[in-house]
């Protein structure tokens, strides 16, 4: 046990949380480097636009230069992101808040939930723990009884995780709420460490990192999130834009409820307006159908109903315009909806009557031996068919329209307050944007205070990434932070940066294709791979890389970079799915490894890899054959293709990766030892932080005693 603990803590000691640039001078160094990179990059790009487009192959030259422009903007956004990172120190402890803990569960294995729940119960600081079970499982319910914690479930799973939390918010009362995903095992100290931030009444949430205890050493699926829950979030925090990330976060109920109400009113007003407009339109077309020259109007008792409905709709619309209380408009709309239903019934009734008459007349004219003159019945039948059937058809259309309008009314009446935004499959980002837009503050606390499970196979990884990408794009299309009122420029920029990064799919595709295109066909996106080109490109590339390395020293970012490129089909798919599918599903990331080989999931990557290898082979062959070729260009593209192949190799290895058995101790053992190690890392990283802040040392509360020491200072206050 001890040995194992040691072994793991060694690994964890290696596990780095980002400590900022370390000193004002180092920050200055970064800014200088960043500025130089941007200037050199701009010069390069300018030259590319003005003097090195391959005019003979614009179809590839233009996508390429757009891709390069995209990359240049990316680099500039990265520089801005880290321009003024904020490294926070732990605030002093406070006592005044009541705290609820929400563990959101949806069919995760009970043994995983148990770990989380037991750790949640053990957390210091008084709190109530609830399991929010969208799986409605008896096992989970039994678990909550055994641990004596709350169990909250609901009838349906509307709005997935956001809906689950919204439901629980209605049934609980704590001032602050800690969200934990089913697999996120909290440190006993998590509440003690972050509650102090809430002394500032404008703070809506404190986000802590996500960290994974099951990521194998070489991180085959690129799950390590150190870059995001390090420089990126701290950089965003510096701009007042630390993002909400859905788990390991403490939120202020008041902020959520306020936001939920405000958006409820907004959404409701918009929905009522639209609904009443549609209802009015359908009522108008019903009136038109009744008035049509068939004289149908005189046969249908609907006229009066219709007039009443139209009056009610007008009343509702006026109410909205004049700012009548929302409940009143809702109830007016509701009675308009009832009127629509009555109208539908009346129309349906008359349609059925007419059809019955037709059938009866038909029967009569078929009874040849009866004294009735069949001719007359037939004449009447034909008249009805000719004159009334079109009217009936029109009526049917009207009925459908009215039904839609009535259904819309029903939906609107049932809109609920949703503190957690439900407009996106990434409810956290959407909520984050809205809280910031209302002027709430957010905080990123960089200490790892909960550990969870990363996806353990490629399939699960891809599903999770796809949901993140789709969710981000959804927020961009439905509640775009760039144009949203109430956000600061810095916040807009930070949200933009995150959304922008998902466009990388288009760019990666061009970069990946380009070298094999040259090697196989000789078509190049640049006018010439000349000395001039290299003199301008190479310094830019080097500076770019230096800036990145300088900012992320000590973090493992390699795998992440590889996956960023290799996941290009996924980013493209995310765009396509948001634009072409109406309802995206919230796909719960599987928490248990499914064995298998996943090469079928990465066909595009395999294809590009193969193409690249063929291109390189072909290039090498031409070089060796001594044919007259542009040697520099060929070598450059062979090198570039090699780099691309290496980028793609990570996901190919991920697809066929299987855990080595002896390398993975049972989850339980690993976790227990990790928790000991956790205490250690948390302590060590904070000690270093304090050193930077002038040598003040603090000790870290192991047990929940409210004797917290040093006050918060941000070394780079705005």
């Amino acid at each position: 046990m001890t040995t194992l603990g040691l072994a793991v803590s060694e690994r964890l000691e290696y596990k780095r949380t980002w400590r900022g640039f370390g000193s004002p001078l180092a920050l200055f160094g970064f800014r200088l480097l960043a500025l130089t990179t941007v200037i050199i990059g701009f010069r390069y790009l300018f030259w590319r636009y003005t003097s090195s487009l391959n005019l003979d192959a614009l179809w590839i030259a233009i996508p390429m230069i757009l891709a390069e422009t995209f990359s240049f903007i990316s680099a500039s956004l990265f520089a801005l992101n880290l321009w003024r990172p904020r490294i926070r120190t732990t605030p002093k402890q406070i006592q005044q808040f009541s705290v609820d803990v929400f563990i959101t569960v949806y069919n995760e294995p009970p043994e995983i939930v148990r770990k989380t729940a037991e750790a949640a119960v053990r957390m210091h600081y008084p709190h109530r723990t609830y399991i929010l079970d969208d799986g409605r499982s008896s096992e989970i319910r039994a678990l909550t009884e055994e641990l004596d914690i709350g169990y909250i479930s609901r009838e349906d799973n509307r709005h997935a995780k956001a809906g689950n939390i919204n439901n629980a918010l209605r049934e609980t009362t704590g001032d602050l709420i800690l969200y934990l995903d089913a697999d996120q095992i909290p440190s006993p100290r998590i509440l003690l460490r972050v509650l102090g931030y809430f002394e500032d009444p404008r703070v809506a949430f404190v986000q802590t990192p996500q960290d994974f205890y099951n990521v194998p050493k070489n991180d085959p699926f690129g799950n390590d999130a150190d870059l995001f829950y390090g420089p990126i979030q701290q950089g965003k925090d510096g701009w007042g834009a630390a993002f909400l990330c859905g788990t390991n976060v403490v939120l202020r109920r008041e902020a959520l409820i306020q936001m939920g109400l405000i958006y409820y009113v907004k959404d409701m007003q918009a929905a009522l307006k639209k609904t009443l407009r549609n209802a009015a339109r359908s009522a108008r077309s019903a009136a038109k159908a009744l008035k049509a020259d068939t004289g149908l109007e005189t046969m249908v008792p609907a006229k009066e109903i219709l007039q009443r409905v139209q009056a009610t709709i007008r009343e509702g619309q006026q109410g909205l315009r004049k700012g009548l209380a929302l409940e009143q408009v809702i109830s007016i709309t509701e009675s308009a909806g009832d009127g629509l239903s009555r109208l539908i019934d009346a129309l349906a009734q008359s349609r059925n009557d007419l059809l019955t008459i037709l059938a009866d007349l038909e029967e009569m004219s078929d009874l040849a031996q009866t004294p009735v003159e069949p001719r007359q019945a037939r004449a009447s039948r034909h008249r009805i068919e000719r004159n009334l059937l079109p009217a009936i058809k029109r009526q049917e259309r009207t009925i459908r329209e009215l039904q839609e309008a009535a259904e819309q009314v029903r939906l609107v009446i049932n809109i609920e307050e949703t503190p957690m935004a439900t407009i996106s499959v990434t409810e956290d980002l959407a909520t984050s944007v809205r809280l910031h837009a209302l002027g709430w503050k957010s905080i990123f606390h960089r200490e790892v205070l909960a550990r969870g499970l990363a996806p353990e196979d490629l399939d699960a990884t891809l599903k999770q990434r796809l949901r993140w990408a789709q969710g981000t794009i959804q927020v961009m299309t439905r509640d775009n932070p760039i144009f949203k009122r109430g956000l600061s420029m810095g916040q807009r920029l930070q949200y933009f940066t995150t959304m922008y990064s998902y466009f990388y799919g288009f760019v990666a595709f061009i970069y990946l294709l380009s070298p094999s295109l040259y090697l196989l066909t000789g078509i190049a996106p640049v006018a010439a791979y000349s000395n001039d080109f290299f003199y301008k490109l190479i310094p830019y590339l080097i500076l770019n890389q230096l800036m990145f390395i300088y900012a992320t020293r000590g973090l493992s970012t390699l795998r992440g970079q590889q996956y960023q490129v290799a996941l290009f089909p996924l980013w493209l798919k995310a765009f396509a799915s948001v634009y072409f599918e109406k309802n995206l599903k919230f796909v719960v990331t599987p928490k248990t490894r499914q064995r298998g080989i996943y090469l079928h999931l990465i066909k595009p990557q395999l294809f590009i890899s193969l193409l690249t290898i063929v291109g390189i082979a072909f290039g090498v062959a031409t070089l060796l054959s001594g044919a007259t070729v542009d040697r520099i260009s060929t070598i450059t593209n062979i090198f570039w293709g090699g780099l691309n192949f290496w980028m793609l190799s990570a996901i190919i290895r991920g697809a066929i990766w299987a855990p080595a058995h002896k390398e993975s101790p049972s989850r339980e053992t690993r976790f227990t030892s990790l928790r000991r190690a956790n205490t250690f890392t948390g302590g060590s990283s904070y000690a270093s932080l304090n050193r930077r802040n002038g040598g003040r040392h603090s000790r870290y509360p192991i047990i929940g005693v409210a004797q917290r020491t040093h006050s918060t200072v941000d070394e780079r206050a705005d």
Partner: protein
């Protein structure tokens, strides 16, 4: 009305007179009931007459050309004479 007609017909009556002089408005379901009644008495070789229809009620029959299918009389007496 539909039920009344059915009861009458089931009890063997096949000669019916409807006095519409107090009817101000007839909708599609009234029309359907009359047509259905007509169909039934015709099957029994009987007759169904309408009496005293007001103008706007008559309009509805004209509109559907049902005025040619039913037989109309100004008064009940006139109808009885014709049966």
């Amino acid at each position: 009305m539909k039920e009344q007609i059915e009861v009458l017909i089931n009890s063997g009556t096949s000669q019916l007179i409807f006095d519409l002089s107090n009817v101000d408005f007839i909708d599609s379901s009234g029309l359907a009931a009359l047509v259905s009644g007509l169909k039934k008495v015709r099957a029994l070789d009987g007759q169904l007459c309408l009496v005293g229809a007001k103008t706007n009620v008559m309009e509805v029959f004209k509109l559907t050309l049902l005025d040619k299918v039913f037989i109309f009389f100004p008064t009940v007496e006139a109808a009885l004479e014709n049966l």
